[in-house]
């Protein structure tokens, strides 16, 4: 479960988050919608402790992430997987080394055998429809869609309890977008993972969300099931959604 209470964050005079309150129950997929620069990624980075709030608290599965530092925070992050907007694959490592990275670090602590690491890496790559032929390739040799899929495999390989997706479908073609949406749904159904998805892709958001929220001017101006948000009377939400729905 993710609990965000009265979260405030500013960068200089730029007040990005102004008192966000949000609860995401265990096993739910929550999508945060919003325009570019609305603070969606800033909100997500607070959940995993990459940013510290000016005020407020973030709790994940009972642990107050916003109050942790150093080794305690590093250990708390073992419950997370995160897919970054630009995939953020390590460009000095092959695909295998990238996907195996979280496991190899875990292996130091939990004695996972090298054979098991290899088996789990190939298994997760197969889940995202990538075969063993990509194992020794470098990230620079992959297409944008393949990089996203490798990033997804890397996020899921250590069986996290919470997965954070930062713009998982941005820049992908419709077929790959549909595929990634399916992956997010599968991860939730098969593994019972709690997911937070940051997106401005309305079609994807309505497809994968159990509930969603719309972030505008530092506030969550609408929150609920896709049907409830669709009926929101907030002027920004109406404009944001109507532009897209009118095109359909």
């Amino acid at each position: 479960m993710i609990e965000i209470r009265d979260l405030w964050k500013s960068f200089g005079d730029n007040h990005v988050l102004k008192g966000i309150d949000l609860t995401i129950p265990k096993g739910e997929t929550f999508v945060v919608l919003g325009g570019s620069g609305s603070g969606k990624t800033v909100l997500m980075k607070h959940v995993i402790g990459l940013l510290k709030p000016d005020r407020g608290a973030v709790r994940v599965n009972g642990l107050e992430i916003s109050a942790l530092d150093g080794k305690a925070l590093t250990e708390a992050r073992q419950m997370f997987g995160m897919v970054f907007q630009g995939a953020a694959l390590f460009d000095s490592m092959t695909v295998f080394e990238n996907v195996a990275f979280p496991l190899k670090e875990k292996r130091r602590r939990q004695r996972i055998s090298a054979d098991e690491v290899r088996q789990r890496v190939t298994e997760k790559l197969r889940v995202v429809d990538l075969g063993e032929e990509v194992l020794e390739r470098w990230p620079s040799e992959l297409s944008g869609g393949m990089r996203k899929r490798v990033a997804l495999a890397r996020a899921l390989v250590s069986d996290p309890q919470v997965v954070l997706y930062d713009e998982p479908t941005t820049g992908l073609d419709p077929i790959t977008t549909d595929y990634v949406d399916g992956m997010i749904l599968n991860a939730k159904q098969a593994l019972g993972i709690t997911s937070m998805v940051i997106s401005h892709d309305i079609a994807s958001a309505f497809k994968v969300a159990d509930r969603l929220g719309v972030l505008y001017d530092g506030h969550l101006v609408a929150e609920g099931t896709p049907a409830e948000v669709r009926q929101s009377q907030d002027p920004f939400v109406q404009k944001f959604l109507s532009l897209w729905f009118e095109k359909q």
Binding site: G86, A88, F90, D91, E105
Partner: protein, 237 residues
């Protein structure tokens, strides 16, 4: 930067100890820089021997050239030139690599996977620098003295006996140790400044470029300042 250095030291003593990463960085910083350090050392020794011979000949004291070359190399030229050459070759690459990782969110990704980036990226580079700067300094010393020997004995025709005798007379182990102490300090300075500049890079390719430039300039200046401070503390006025 001071907080960054303190955090690095705190993480350096915590397990797991990533020996394979330290060895990789030792190969990059040390083995990879051996050629340029060797070439610089050889030519520095050759040129310094010729200059010493030219100056001391006026007092009929050219046989002291060998001692002067060895003494200057050990205490001053080898550690400083080595630090500046490694800053240019490896320090700039370290700042660029970490800067690129920062602006493409690779460092954030590492943190999200429960791996502290200072522990994984910075500590191995600092340890490798602490080990390899003295090794490279000794390489510079050896090749610099060899280059000076060839110039002094075979080109300037200084008799080999007095050349070697005055080297032994001028030099002792403390001179070598003085240079190696400087090399360790310079290694720490260069590694901390360049990793920090890369680690704190912001704003895309331009930010990475700026971070690299600042890292190289600041490292060079702090090496020269530290050189003065250590020399002053050691020999006084």
């Amino acid at each position: 930067m001071i907080l960054f250095a303190v955090e690095m030291v705190a993480w350096a003593v915590r397990p797991p100890f990533r020996l394979e990463l330290v060895l990789t960085q030792m190969a990059f910083i040390g083995v990879g820089s051996a050629f340029i350090v060797g070439v610089t050392g050889t030519f520095a020794g050759m040129v310094f021997a010729l200059q010493m011979n030219f100056a001391l000949k006026q007092f009929a004291a050219e046989a002291f050239s060998g001692g002067a070359v060895a003494f200057s190399l050990a205490r001053e030229l080898a550690p400083v030139f080595t630090a500046l050459m490694v800053t240019a070759r490896a320090g700039s690459a370290i700042a660029t690599e970490l800067g690129t990782m920062r602006v493409t969110e690779q460092i954030d990704a590492m943190e999200s996977m429960a791996v502290n980036p200072i522990h994984y990226l910075v500590v191995p580079r600092v340890i490798a620098s602490l080990v390899m700067f003295p090794v490279l300094t000794m390489l510079f010393n050896a090749l610099g003295y060899a280059g000076g020997f060839v110039m002094g004995v075979y080109v300037a025709r200084i008799p080999i006996g007095p050349y070697l005798a005055h080297t032994q007379e001028f030099m002792d182990v403390d001179d070598i140790l003085h240079g190696l102490l400087k090399a360790v300090v310079f290694g720490f300075i260069v590694a901390i400044i360049t990793t920090w500049r890369g680690y704190a890079a912001t704003g895309g390719a331009r930010g990475v470029g700026e971070g690299t430039t600042r890292g190289v300039v600041a490292s060079s200046i702090f090496v020269l300042l530290a050189d003065y401070a250590i020399t002053f503390a050691s020999v006084g006025t």
